[in-house]
Every structure is written in structure tokens, then in C-alpha cells.
Homo-oligomer: 230 residues x 2
Amino acid sequence: MKLTERRKKMLAFIAEFVEENNYPPSIRDIGSACDISSTSVVKYNLTKLEQDRLIKRDKEVSRGLSLDWAGLQEAGLADDLAGAPASHQGGDGSAFSFFQVPVLGYIAAGEPIQVETTDHFTADEWLELNETLYRNPDQLYALRVQGDSMIDASVLDGDIVILRHQERAENGEMVAAWIDTQNETTLKHFFLEGDQVRLRPANPSYPEMFLPAADVSVKGKVVSVIRQLE
Amino acid sequence: MKLTERRKKMLAFIAEFVEENNYPPSIRDIGSACDISSTSVVKYNLTKLEQDRLIKRDKEVSRGLSLDWAGLQEAGLADDLAGAPASHQGGDGSAFSFFQVPVLGYIAAGEPIQVETTDHFTADEWLELNETLYRNPDQLYALRVQGDSMIDASVLDGDIVILRHQERAENGEMVAAWIDTQNETTLKHFFLEGDQVRLRPANPSYPEMFLPAADVSVKGKVVSVIRQLE
DNA sequence: ATTATACAAGAACATCTGTGCGGTGTCAAG
DNA sequence: CTTGACACCGCACAGATGTTCTTGTATAAT
């Protein structure tokens, strides 16, 4: 899309003005900022910009204009206009790099967790995450922590744990483990030592556990813990 | 902070209107939406709201008002107003779903953290987060936790804490607090009791602290804790 | 009772601000 | 050359919008 230098300047100014003041500029604001002496010229160009779907405008309303980000996106102009502290993304605008992770339920000591990849459909809630932080999102699922049962892993009531579905774990990894003899699932660092499993809490003020390997089954590896407080 | 029902309604309407139109309402818009027949009454209440630092206003400018999120945050009203009613419109796309949060450095007992909004430029690292989980990203910053000094807050070495920059806190909120007498910053639940401040760890197996209010300065409110394990 | 303060209303006023219309200059097509 | 589309300018007007002034009500303090 061809675009006059003047219109570019106008767009840039509008973006800057809104960023600065939290309300849109008036026609005369734009005029003086872009060296346009006549209000009608500003209006003329604003109309053009609106026709090109680069801005939106409410007629007869003071400062009733806003940038049309969808259109700007298509025109490839969004990046130039997005303010410094503002958001940013791919550039072409179509490739948003986030994905959704199913929140499958709750994890609490004393209750088993059943996790199948197919359970994705039964998820009552989804968490939106960012690709920069996580890999292979297909295998991820999330659980809400209920009660203080995981406090030895420095995981509090209400926290969300994100796990990667797998049944084996490397030594030292933090896993969600089902302990047969105690009938509970817990988050611990996993160490296989001979035919014994050592489970070490993340919080060193709690003791380690030693169990027969047969009594421990890994339900997934803990990838992340997220705590929302507000 | 006490707030008239009418003023609450006004704030709610302003938030809704801006969300909807991308520009602020006029005095008469507010009036008719809040059943106020006189423009002067609207102005009167707007002035009060401005005095309470809940909105900002540019005099003599049409629709020259905006919500003061910093003040609203401190008043504990931000949550009610943020993205409340108006549906998240995909077409308009006024906001991308991403934003970046600066990682300003480390937090560790014994070291002060200096946080200025201008420090955004000096950030060596940025965290990409998703808007569905956080509000008002402008005021957010992140710190990496160093050492086990925060373990009583169930925050481990290497965790990332996300804070909202503010110097006052409501009782019960988790804050980053600088403790003068001990020369350290710590994460605790904050309670102001008379001229004493009570700091309660998130982890109940650690004791509470009682300090003179003068010795405690809030550096920000903890919004989130993120732990990456792989 | 009296005063002070917060809140509300209505109307008149002063700007702010968008719109409309006549006019100018350029440039390419007919 | 003429025409017409395009970009631009000034200006006057009208509607939109913030401000001010006067008045009234209620409540609490003196």
C-alpha cells in the first residue's frame, strides 16, 4: 500500500500522542504536529487513512479516532508504530507464538492424578503460555495445587504446576510421583539409586524419602511452577 | 479509600468506554451513563477522582481524561476495572496479546534493589508474558532470586518474581520489602498494624517478623512467581 | 441556631473541535 | 488546451464539550 510521507507522519504522531496522553489527538493537534496549516487537510488525510483501514473514526466526536491495528498489521506498519514499552511480536502479524496448555485438575496429596494426552479434551480450563519459555507444548499439561501438601517442594496452595507427560525421569529432575504405599502424588526431585528411589524435596528444610522403586511411578516431569498473586 | 457509589460507577464506565471506543468519554457521556443530569456534577466528581489520583485529567481538553492505573492499583480498584465487561475484541486488535517485562536484576537478602521505571532501558533481559495472565504490563518488572534467602516465601534460588512497582501495599499482599535495620530485601506478606509492620512468610514453617513501619519500605507488589525447571 | 462541608442541579458561557465549502496548484490523460 | 483526480489551504460555521455561576439539600460540627 502506497502511503504519503505526510500520512505516515500522521500515523506516527497519532500513535505517539496516544501513548503519551492516553487519549487521541484532535485534528488541530495533528495539524500542528505534522506542519499542516489547515484543519480540512488533516480531515482529508484522515478520511483517506480511514478508507485504507489504518485508523478508525467516529464522526462528530471530538478526538474520536483510534488506530486500526488489524489494518496496520496487514499493511505491515504495526511494528513501526508500536511504542517502545508496548507489545511486540513476529512482524508478519499472523504468527503468534503462544499456545494453550490444558489445566487438567488438581494435585493434592492423597489423590491420584490420571493423565492421558487424550484428556486434553476434558480440560475445563486452558492456560496460555509463550513459546519462548516452553518447548514441545503438545506434551504439556497443568495442574492446580490444592492444600499445603507440596510445601516441601516450595509449591503453595493455588500454584499451578506445568508438567511434561513422561513416565521415566532422569536423576535430579523434579517430577510428579505417585507413591503407592502412601496413596499420594507429590512433587519431588527424583533419584534412582539401585532399586531404591530417593525423593528429595525442593525445600531443604524438609527430609528426603527413600522408597522401593516399585512403589513409585512417575506421572510427569515438572517443567514450571507458576504462582499468581493478584 | 472511601468512594461514593456514583464515583465507582463513573470509574467503571470510563474503563468500559475506553475499552470499547479506544478514546475517553466526554463529560456528558459520563453523565448520561451514570444518570447525572448536570455536567457540573460530573465535573465535580471528576475533580474529586483526580484529587484521589484515580484518574488523570487535562483541563480544557475534550475527552482529556484517562484512568490513573498507578493510583487505582494502590487503591485496590484496578482489578475490578481492568478488562471487566467489554468483550476482548479480536478484530479491533487494539492490544497485542504479548508484552515484555524487563528483568532488572537479582534479588537476594543483603542487597538492595533499586527500581525505577526508567530502568526499563537498562534491563539486560526481557521476559515475554501473556496478557491473559497479567494486567497493566507497564508497571511490571521482574527479578531473579539468588540464593535460598527467600525460601521462607516458598521462592527458590533461580525463580523469577514478577512485581508491580508501587510503594504502598494493602494488608495481606505479598511485597518486596526493604528492611532498613537488616539491610536486606525480602518477599513477605505485608500487614500494617499501627506503626508496626508485620511480615509474614508465605511458608508457615517460618516465623513472622515485627518491625517499626519506618524501617520497612515497599519496593513493589509481587504479582507472580515463575519457576523454570528445564 | 449557625456554620462548614460535601454533594447535586440547571443554565449560561467560553472553548474546543469537526465539518463544509470555495479556492489554488500539480500532473497526467484525453 | 482542457479536464479531472489528487493534495492542499483558509476560513467560517455549527455542534461538541469543558467551565463557571447560582441555587438547593443534607449532614455534621460548633
